[in-house]
Every structure is written in C-alpha cells, then in structure tokens.
C-alpha cells in the first residue's frame, strides 16, 4: 500500500474508450490489455510508463462504459494507483473490485504534475510530491468499501458468503 513512481497526467473526462478502445475487448488478458492502455487517447501512450508509475486524471476519470477491462488495462500497464480530481461512478467501483488504488483529491490535483516523482501512502490517503515538496490528502474511502478491501476484495467477500 506504499508506492513510488512518476506521475503521468491526462485530462478531464477520460472515458473508458480512451483507456481501452472496444477493439481490444476481445480478450480479458491483463498483459494484452495493458499493452494497449490509453491507446484511445494516443497510440503508443503506454510506452512512457515504467512499472509502478502513477496515473493522474482530471475530472470524471473513467466515464463511459462499464467495461472492467479499463482498470484491468491500467493495472496490466503496471500502474497500481490512479489519482484524480474525481472518478466516474462505475469505474470507481470497478477499480476497487480489481484492486486498483483510486484516490480522489479534487482541486488538489493541480499540485501533481506530469513527470513529477510521487510517493503514495494509500492507507493514510497521503500523496507526497518529491519534485515540488507538496503534500496532498485524498478524500476518505467510504467505510463500506474499505471493509470490502479489508476482506481482500469483493471476490473473497462473496467466496466467504457462498462457502
């Protein structure tokens, strides 16, 4: 739950077709989806990402379709955390279910720039920008969702219930 990496900034209203275009939805393989992450924004976008880097979104990140392939593609690209002004509702749920860390920070997103070296303490909701020296706090995760996370995610939660 402790991450360090370079921030990669994208704009407002990044939709799921930008994150992973529909033509790649003929597979559910994380590696393959990861290779095409953000190719609906720019072909070859993912080549700038090193494993452990952090995605910085604007408003309404992940709007559009319900495809769970979107958080899987981001994870498959080696990105463990997305920090954004705000998230679209379905994407937010999907991210948690897939184990992608999502941090909502509102206007504070302005303190995190493209290429900045970032450190994320997910459980504490703290983001440290080592390039600028700024610190950003994320909004707390709803209690119920934190519970599901603590149980090891939705899959484990259901597995316990049906056992």
């Amino acid at each position: 739950m402790h991450f360090k990496g370079k921030g990669h900034k994208v704009g407002d209203h990044i939709d799921t077709d930008a994150i992973i275009p529909a033509r790649y939805l003929v597979t559910t393989d994380p590696e393959e989806l990861g290779r095409n992450c953000m190719s609906g924004l720019e072909e070859g976008w993912v080549s700038r990402v090193s494993r452990g880097d952090i995605l910085l979104g604007g408003k309404n990140f992940g709007c559009g379709s319900s495809r769970e392939h979107a958080p899987i593609a981001i994870l498959g690209a080696g990105i463990p955390v997305v920090i954004a002004h705000s998230f679209a509702r379905i994407f937010y749920r999907n991210g948690f279910n897939m184990g992608l860390i999502l941090m909502e920070v509102g206007d504070e997103i302005k303190k995190l720039g493209d290429g900045d070296e970032l450190e994320v303490k997910a459980l504490e909701g703290k983001i440290i920008n080592h390039t600028t020296g700024d610190t950003v706090d994320s909004l707390p995760v709803p209690e119920f969702m934190a519970d599901i996370l603590a149980k090891g995610g939705l899959i484990n939660y259901v597995r316990e219930r049906v056992a």
Partner: protein
C-alpha cells in the same frame, strides 16, 4: 420526509430502512444482465468466487449483442465461453443467434424488466429501464458476478436531480433532443453519483420508447439512474409485452431533491452533440456546414420501431446522398420483422441504405461501420468520444432519427424540415 423514485424502489428491495442519500444499503436484485464483452470477465470472477450455482437461473440475462454476429475468432470464443456457462447454469434467458437483439431494446420487449424492479447490468446503458420505472444501473463484471451468485448487491443511495419538463414538443424534436439538451446543460459529470428523475407535463407526450431513449443517456451525464414515474403509458407498454401485475409509481409529495432543472421544451429545435463529448450540444441550425461520410440509425438509444418509423417518414421516396453510407440496424429481430411488415425496410433499401442485423456493432467501434481517419458520422447512438466508432482521427455527431435521415439525404447535418 417523503421518498423520491430511486429511494422508493430501493426501499422495496432492501431489508434496511432507506433514510438519506449517501447511506449504503444491501439490495435484492430483480434481474442481472451481462453481454458478450462483459460476461466473460463475470464468468471468470464467478469461478474465483467458487459459487456452485447462480442465485436464480430465471433472473439472469446473458445477451451476446456487441460483437455479434461474431466478428472474428476472438469474439467467437468469448461468446462460446458465455454460451457454455449459460448451459452449465441452465440460464433461461440466454440470447445469441436469431433471438438476439441489442440488450436494452430486447429485455423490455420480452417483458423481463419493468416498474419497481432493481436491475443491475454489466453495461453502462442498463439505466435504460428507468424509462419503465425500474431502478436500473450499470456495474462492472465482478459486481455482476457477485449479484449472480448472491442475488443481491450494495448501493449508495444517490442524491436525485429532478428534471421538470414543461411545454409541448414541436414537430421534429424528439425525446433524444430533450436528453441531449439536458446533457448539454448539466454536462457529462452533472449527474455524477446522482439519479435523474423526470417529471412535468411533457411526460404525457412521451411514449415508453421515447422515455427509454432518455433514461438510456442518463449515464452520459454521469448518472446512476434515469427514472420515470409509472403511469398508464408504462403499464400499457408492459402489458403489451407480456408483463402483468405492475402498479402506478410516483414520487412522494415531500420527496427530497438535491437540485431542480426546469426545461421549457416548446420551441426547442432538434439538437446535435458535437465531437468529442455528448455535452457539446448545439441546435442543428447553429452548426456550420458539416459534411458526413456515414449515418448510423440504430443502437439501444434509438433502434426501436418508433425510431425507424421516424427515419422512414423522412426517407420515403428519397435517396441517400451518393457520398454517404446509411447503416440501419433494427435493434431486435421483432423490430426487424415489424419494420419489414410496415414497409420501412423497403423505404431504407430504395433510398440506398444498408440494412444490418440487430447488433451494437458500430456504436462502440466494434464492427459493421467503422470510420477511417478523417471521416465523419452522424449517429443516433449515445457516445461520441474520440475514436469511439473507429479511427482516432474520425468524428461522431449524435442526433435523433429524424436528423439522421435528413442528414443521410443531404450529405450534411441538416434540420429535418429542410430536406
């Protein structure tokens, strides 16, 4: 305090007392839906959950409508995976071949969704059923797998925006124009985490199909649901489609809303959403001359019989511009048959249109009408994100069936009264 529509419906399905927005409740589901793109992931998650069987084989719908008829080997194998799962679990409502239609047109037609239901679907346009007074919303595949196993899910009670529509629609504007206008006003995140509830005197002019078109695009404003009250129009539609036993549903007098939006619909011109977001909306006459290479008539938004009738009214005895491909996709086999019987397909064919099978196809850039770099399309679909229908260098405009038909004839985006 009284309850709005979302709170009333959720209360009916939850053991906990619904008190206020933001509260998280467990909720029984009436129907669980997935398609050929999202079901394979749901099947994977379902296996990992080690659930021995689905909660109710009659309350799950698996609709293979996105890349079907299978566009390539990979999509055929995805459908195969869904088919095998459906057989193993004895799923009653599995649709793939000659019985498949675009999911959100198909399920209402089969009477599988209706007033007071809670429907969750691994497809963002599941909100369509709000047109019939169901609390229906999209989720990801793993949430859907959980609902398939448990027959329940969890919801945060959304705040509700009440949309009051007053006045009377002119000749050519439709419910598509109303929802585009609303999205243009409140923007693509205007209803984020919220429900939309439609009200006002204009409701009386909107039939059930028109209401589903509006509810369908609630997600384009970020909405969790788009809800219509249940009146005689709804009940007649349900009865016609074999669903009995429903009752009227209205919000309480003192219900709580986070916001009210008033729309005066009289005099509103047909609306068009410009690239690359559904909220970049303008009146059709306010656009500069925009030439198009393709027009798509279909989808879960506007592929129903009333939509085809509207387009045919404009296209009758006319020709599609020689530089335009008009692609018509009736949303279900029943709509296809009805369009054939009513002579609509003949009108499209004689005009030079291409008629394809029921499929989501081009709407999401899947197949059957992909755009090349530099091409422009006007579609009756719901999203015009960059690259949505093909090349990242292509453009999609969104409009009503009337505007689509007129545009196909003129070769440029045009008011239906001007062709």
């Amino acid at each position: 305090m009284g309850k709005n529509l979302a709170e009333k419906i959720l209360q009916k399905h939850s053991p906990e007392e619904v008190k206020k927005p933001g509260q998280i409740i467990p909720c029984r589901v009436s129907l669980v839906l997935a398609n050929d793109i999202t079901a394979p992931l749901a099947v994977d998650s379902f296996r990992k959950m080690q659930a021995p069987r689905v909660f109710d084989a009659d309350k799950i719908a698996l609709v293979c409508d996105h890349f079907t008829p299978n566009k390539d080997i990979a999509s055929a194998e995805q459908v195969q995976k869904v088919r095998l799962f459906a057989r193993e679990m004895n799923i009653t409502h599995y649709y793939e071949g000659g019985n498949v239609g675009v999911e959100h047109a198909l399920l209402p037609e089969l009477g599988l969704v209706g007033p007071g239901d809670v429907v969750v679907g691994a497809d963002s346009h599941t909100c369509t059923y709000g047109g019939l007074g169901a609390f229906a919303t999209g989720m990801g595949s793993t949430d859907i797998a959980a609902a398939m196993a448990l027959g329940e899910t969890w919801f945060k009670i959304p705040e509700t925006i009440r949309v009051n529509m007053n006045g009377s629609l002119d000749e050519f504007p439709t419910s598509k124009d109303l929802i585009l206008n609303l999205i243009g006003r409140i923007k693509v995140d205007g209803a984020l985490y919220r429900a939309l509830e439609f009200a006002g005197e204009t409701l009386a002019e909107l039939d059930a199909e028109a209401r589903m078109t509006m509810a369908n695009m609630a997600i384009e404003a970020g909405g969790k649901a788009g809800l219509f009250p249940v009146d005689q129009v709804t009940l007649d539609y349900c009865r016609e489609h074999g669903r009995l036993g429903d009752d009227f549903l209205e919000p309480d007098q003192q219900a709580g809303y986070c916001m009210q939006v008033d729309m005066q619909v009289s005099g509103m011109p047909p609306q068009v959403a410009c690239p690359h977001l559904p909220d970049k909306v303008a009146g059709v006459d306010d656009l500069q001359e925009i030439k198009v290479d393709q027009v798509v008539l279909g989808s879960c938004t506007n592929g129903r019989i009333s939509d085809l009738r509207q387009a045919a009214q404009i296209l009758k005895d006319r020709k599609v511009d020689k530089n335009v491909r008009l692609i018509v996709l009736p949303a279900t086999p029943k709509i296809f048959a009805q369009a054939l019987e009513e002579g609509l397909l003949e009108i499209f064919l004689k005009a030079g249109g291409i008629i394809g099978p029921p499929t989501c196809g081009p709407c999401l850039g899947g197949h059957m009408g992909i755009l090349a770099s530099g091409e422009t399309c006007l579609a009756t679909t719901n999203r015009n994100f960059k690259g949505r229908m093909g090349s990242l260098e292509s453009k999609v405009y969104l409009g009503s069936p009337y505007v689509a038909a007129a545009t196909a004839i003129a070769g440029r985006i045009i008011h239906p009264a001007r062709v």
